[in-house]
Each structure stands twice: as structure tokens, then as C-alpha cells.
Symmetry: C2
Subunit: 213 residues, 2 copies
């Protein structure tokens, strides 16, 4: 098995090697997409043997799942939910989330995640699991009410849609709307999803198809 590339005179420990592989994997997923990234390329970029990558992460899916959970930008939303008053959580979430998309480093990582989810069914399932566990569950805990998980996913999917239209598709005039203005518009709506009246009686009723009204 080839030795990991050395950044110091000392032989890197397993933690450093694992971190070097994860960093290389993340760069590969960002630059080449889920389909383009390969175990071979990640091993080469990290300066280790392919077998070592497989030893730590088992497969490309395993590598993707681990990269998702490495300092995930979206965990910031769970942190926001754990602090402060629930009555202005809507606007605080909006500001923190838009901030992630306006920062080049975190927006690149978010874009890689959503590209992978849109292109690969296995990546999509991993992203959904990650978002459910690491973002929606803590957010629901912050909300605390009966339908907290429905509320969290409604708020989260609205935020996601806005960012996709504004920062990825760049649909105008949403793309060039002042950030402060957008935060002022979205804040009350996200707050409505978190703590407002959602016609509770209907939530949890059997699944029905939606036709044109």
C-alpha cells in the first residue's frame, strides 16, 4: 500500500490520512460532479493507494456520504435554530442561509451537493438522509411543536427553491433583488411555516393525488 503524501517530515497518522482523502474527495465532487469523481482520482489527489481509500470509505457512495458530513455548511441552520428566540427564527434562518450562498466557499460546496442529488439516485438518497438528520431534525427540535418536522421541511424547501432560482438559475428580477429586501420578504413566510397556522387538521391525512382545482 502506498504511503500518504507527507506534508511534514513525520509519517501522517490515520486521522490525517483520512482527512486528506476527504479533502480530495470533496474537491473531486465539486470539480467533476458525482458521476465524474472516481476512487482512483481521489486516491491520486490525496497521494495514497486506491485500496486505502476503499479501506476507509468502502465505495464512492461511502466517500460521498462522509464528505457530506465533513464540516457541512448547512449545519449552520441547525445552530441558528438552537440559539435565540423562536419568534424571530424565520428571519435569522433566512439571513444565515442566504449568507451561505453569498460566500464563495460554502456556495460551491452547496452547489456540488445539489448537483449530485439531481444527477444520481444514490446521491439523492444520501443527501435526503443527511438533510433529514443533520438539518431538519435539529430544526424541528428547535421548533418543538407537534408538526415540527413538516414545518421544518416546508421552510427548508422554500429556502432551497429561492437559492436555486437566485444563485444557480439566476432568474431575474429575483437574482438582483437586494439581499436585505429578500430577507425582509422571506422572513415572515419562513416564520409562518415555523410557528404559524398551517391548517393543522389536515396534516397527516392519507396521501391523495393533487388534481387541478
Amino acid at each position: 500500500m502506498a504511503q500518504p503524501r507527507r506534508s511534514t517530515g513525520r509519517r501522517p497518522g490515520p486521522t490525517q490520512t483520512r482527512e486528506a482523502i476527504l479533502a480530495a474527495a470533496e474537491a473531486a465532487f465539486v470539480e467533476e460532479g458525482y458521476a465524474g469523481a472516481t476512487i482512483r482520482g481521489v486516491a491520486r489527489a490525496a497521494g495514497v493507494d486506491q485500496a486505502l481509500v476503499l479501506h476507509y470509505f468502502e465505495s464512492k457512495d461511502g466517500l460521498f456520504a462522509a464528505a457530506l458530513r465533513t464540516k457541512p455548511p448547512l449545519r449552520a441552520l441547525a445552530e441558528v435554530a438552537a440559539q435565540g428566540d423562536i419568534h424571530d427564527l424565520g428571519e435569522r434562518l433566512v439571513r444565515r442561509y442566504l449568507g451561505l450562498w453569498e460566500d464563495p466557499v460554502t456556495s460551491t460546496r452547496l452547489l456540488a451537493i445539489f448537483r449530485a442529488a439531481s444527477m444520481s439516485a444514490s446521491a439523492s438518497a444520501m443527501v435526503a438522509e443527511f438533510i433529514g438528520e443533520e438539518v431538519m431534525a435539529p430544526l424541528a427540535e428547535g421548533i418543538g411543536s407537534e408538526n415540527a418536522k413538516v414545518r421544518a421541511t416546508l421552510a427548508g424547501s422554500h429556502l432551497f427553491g429561492t437559492s436555486a432560482a437566485r444563485y444557480v438559475l439566476r432568474v431575474e428580477p429575483l437574482a438582483s433583488l437586494a439581499g436585505e429586501c429578500l430577507a425582509a420578504i422571506l422572513g415572515p413566510v419562513i416564520q409562518h411555516y415555523l410557528t404559524g397556522d398551517l391548517d393543522h387538521a389536515q396534516i397527516g391525512s392519507p396521501t391523495a393525488r393533487v388534481g387541478e382545482g
Copy 2:
């Protein structure tokens, strides 16, 4: 130049040939994605020479732009906006849009559009232009108020985010929420974006970055 594949004894006219190429292109974009689809493959599937595809559409981008505009599922939203009362347009839009995602044919086409937009900057620009011209502009016309284009894009991006979370990522519990329940929750919010109070004073102010509040 090879002859188009004949479905009848008569030689197909230019319109039929163009339509056959577009149908093959759409299938290619759905099945192989934007990156995977090729002029050569589309020509082979349509039974024509590559030169004929280039004659009609100039490039893969030209083919994608034309396929986007061929019986586009999202045009249904513009049709909904042109009919009926603006005061229940929110719920009518929600029902029509969710219906597009619950129909296997239209949902496959929508997924292909959004996959292409997420993976390719040129496809993304074409999708944004198409949505702006064919969906948002007629929707804004239906709204008719001063900030109608901002309103239309806020409503559209919210609908998109909900469908991405529900039908593509399948984030729970949003994915298994009853359709009727989701329509009842989303309707008033979309209506708020179309005709409600959006803190008008701020719209159009200079672009500002959004920091954590």
C-alpha cells in the same frame, strides 16, 4: 444528406423532420442528460444526417433551447394565470404545478430540465431565459401589480423548492404528506407572494449582501 426515416409512404416535409429531431433530442436530454446527449446520437435516433440537425438547430445548445420550448409543461402555469380570479390564483397554481410533478410524463421532462440547469452553465442560462419569458412574464401579466415580476419569481421559486424536496430528494415527511394537505398549506403562501403585502418600500433598493442578523 440522408433521408429522414419514413413513417408513411410519403417523404416527410421539413416540419415533420424538425419535429422528429426535436422528439429525439428531448428523449436524449431526458435519458442521457445535457452532457450525455450528442448531435450524433440525436441524428441517429431521428434517422437523419447530423448535418440536417445542425441545419435546423445549429448546435446542441440550439437543440436544447428548442426542446425546452416544445409543448413545455410549465406553460400550464401561464395558462392558469390567464384564467379565473387572481384572488384564488395561489391555490390554482399550486394544484396545477404539483399535478405536473405527479404525472410521470411531465415530471420526467421537468426533471430533465432542472438536471440540465444544475449541471451546465449554458443550459442554466437557457432555462432561466425560458422560465423568465414563458412562465414568469405571463404570470406577472396575470398579477398586474407594480412588483409583479418579483412576485412571480418568489412564487415560482417556492413552488420549485417544494417540488425538488418532495419529488426529487424525497425529504420526509414532506414527500409523503397528502397532496391535498400540501396544496392547502402552500396556497395561502403563494397567494401572499402574488397579491399580499411584501414590504414594498424596500423592493428595488440597491443590492446589498446579507449577513447574519
